[in-house]
Structure formats: C-alpha cells, structure tokens
Symmetry: C2
Subunit: 197 residues, 2 copies
C-alpha cells in the first residue's frame, strides 16, 4: 500500500499536531514516540516526516504557536484604563485563555527543558514578553500608589503562578463555571496586590 484514499495534507497536518499536543501533554514529550503519534493519526511513522523536520520541531513549533497566539490575544484586548482595571482585565484574560487550552499551556510550561538551546531562547523570549506585560501593569500601579507590593518582579511571578494554576484543576462542566472562576481569580489577584476587591 502507499497513498490512502481521501488523503490530504490539509487534513493530516493538523491532525498530527492535535494528536501530538494531546499525547505530549498527557505523557510528556520524551515518553511519547513518533510511532505512537503516527498510530493515533492512523498513519505510518515515516509519514510524519512530511509534516515536520523532526520530533524536536514538532514540539518547538507547538510551543511557539501557543505563545504567539497568547501574545496576539493579549494585544487585542480593549485599551487600558487605570492600573486596577488593567490588572483585573489581565487576570480575567489569563484565566480564560488558559482554561480553554490546558494542553498547550501545560506543554509550554513543562517541556521547555526538552528544547535545544537555540529554540529554548526563542520560546523563553516570548514568555518573558508576556510576563513583562503584567509587570508593567504592576509597576504602574505601584507608582500610582494603588498597589501595595514590596517587589514588582516577585509579585509578577507570584500572580502568574497563581493564575496559571487554574489549569491544574479546572474542567469544563465542573462545579464552577468559567465566568465564575475568572471572577474569583481576578478578585484574589487584586486583593493580593492590595487593591481592594
């Protein structure tokens, strides 16, 4: 056998990425083999190499796409008001965006160590750009006297860790709805920096 009936790169390509994302998130990059991915896609392992240069690129492209999407979505937010409103908007956005794609988030955070130095640097730079957006909000709020935070950098990392943690437990159709969860997290974030809820 060779080419299959109904085969098209516009179909197989995305399916490979989707399967790889699910498997990487579930079992970890190193624990997933190309043959496993191929099997779930319904194809032989060799066929994957029509869509990716190697396993490493499959991971790196996935992470880059995710972070670029995150930055694009952040930039598309309505223009900012005072620091308090900006922080609330950021927190809601962060939680909402992350619970919608837990696999991509998990991978972008956990598989950094499986990247080679060059690709690691590129991905890390994107992540830092995102963190900087929050840090700017906190610095402005601190300068305006509305946030009570001893250290801006520490507060940035603490808030991001808290907000990202939502992916550890949130499940669609669970006890709490998406809007509810966004509101509670935003409220905690505001309180944590001393901006009354």
């Amino acid at each position: 056998m060779a080419r299959k009936t109904g085969s098209h790169s516009e179909i197989t390509g995305p399916r490979i990425r989707a399967v790889a994302e699910r498997l990487f998130a579930r079992h970890g990059y190193a624990a997933v083999s190309m043959r496993q991915i191929a099997a779930e896609v319904g194809v032989q392992a060799g066929a994957l190499y029509l869509y990716t240069a190697d396993k490493q690129s499959l991971l790196a492209d996935m992470m880059r796409d995710h972070l670029e999407g995150l930055l694009t979505a952040l930039a598309a937010l309505p223009p900012p008001g005072d620091p308090r409103a900006r922080l609330e908007q950021f927190a809601r956005f962060h939680v909402g965006y992350h619970i919608a794609r837990p696999d991509a988030v998990f991978i972008a955070y956990m598989e950094l160590r499986n990247l080679e130095p060059a690709q690691f640097e590129a991905i890390e730079a994107l992540r830092r750009r995102y963190e900087d957006a929050l840090e700017t909000i906190l610095r402005d709020g601190r300068a305006a006297g509305v946030f009570a935070i001893p250290d801006t950098k520490l507060a940035t990392l603490a808030l991001i860790a808290m907000l990202t943690g939502v992916t550890n437990w949130y499940r669609e159709g669970g006890r709490l709805g998406r809007a509810e969860v966004e509101a509670i997290y935003a409220d905690m974030a505001l309180k944590a920096v001393g901006a009354a809820g």
Copy 2:
C-alpha cells in the same frame, strides 16, 4: 574488575538517589537513562539494581520520601492560633520548605504522570493530605469571618499554586533573601484571602 576499593552501600545508595534526583529534575524522568545515572555516580548500570528494584521505584520512592518529609515537617510546626496566624505560618513554611529542595518539589509535581496507577494513587493521597491542611485553615477562617473567599477549594489551589511558584525563580544568593521572600509571599497570601496584611 569487580568490587571497587572503598565501596560501601551507605555511600553508593545515597549518591544514586542524589544523582537521580538532580537528573530527573533537570531533564525529566523519561529522558534520563539508567546508564546516565550510573555514569554520574561512577558505576556501571547493573550496579544500580542493587539499590532499586527498577527505574520506576527509584522515582516513586523519591516522591514518597519527599511528600512524607513535607507532611512530617508540617506536623512539627508550633501549635496553631487563630486562622490568620495559621495561614501566615503555613505560607512561610511552604515557601521555606520548597525553596530548600527545588528538585524534589519539581519532580513530585511534574512526574506524577510517569507513575503506574497503584503508585500514583499512593503519592496523590499524600499530596491531598497536604492540601487538606491548608483547606482546613481556610475553611476555619471563612467560618470565623476573617477570610473573604467565595470558594474554599479554589482558594486552596490558588494559594498553593502561588506559593509553590517560588521554586520557578528563587535562587540561593540572589537579589532577595530567603526570609524576605517568605515574608512577601505570606503577606500576599493573607491579602489574597482578605485578611489584611
């Protein structure tokens, strides 16, 4: 060659565990081979099996030891006062304990998926016991009217995520000292639940 001069199980055993912990944390369980561990210990791969039944047990034992140590240390804390004091103590303890052993923390959190079901259950139970300790504090504080939190479970997970995040960036000898960091995190935790800093 066979037995080496100066070889003792009380030396080799701990060294294997130390090397494995460092490598697992750095590269991930699945990406580290028994031969790599052996090489860093200065021994042949076969010798590792005098100290562990298999690779999986090496990981599981490591995680169990870490979580049991965490629970023991938590139980050894001075007896509790009011919820506010208890939360502050918990936050300081959590941050302090975690930044002292970042590798073990990272592994206990990231490599859960590499455990087989039976071992996973055992480790997860320990982790839940620890979370319950915090949840109890929050529930008591909420009942006493000193914490303003819409959902106790959510607040528990949010706080743990925030506090554990310290391991992502804290480095010994960095810009901020250990006591300083503990204080700032404890302050943010208290504020986040509406207990004035």
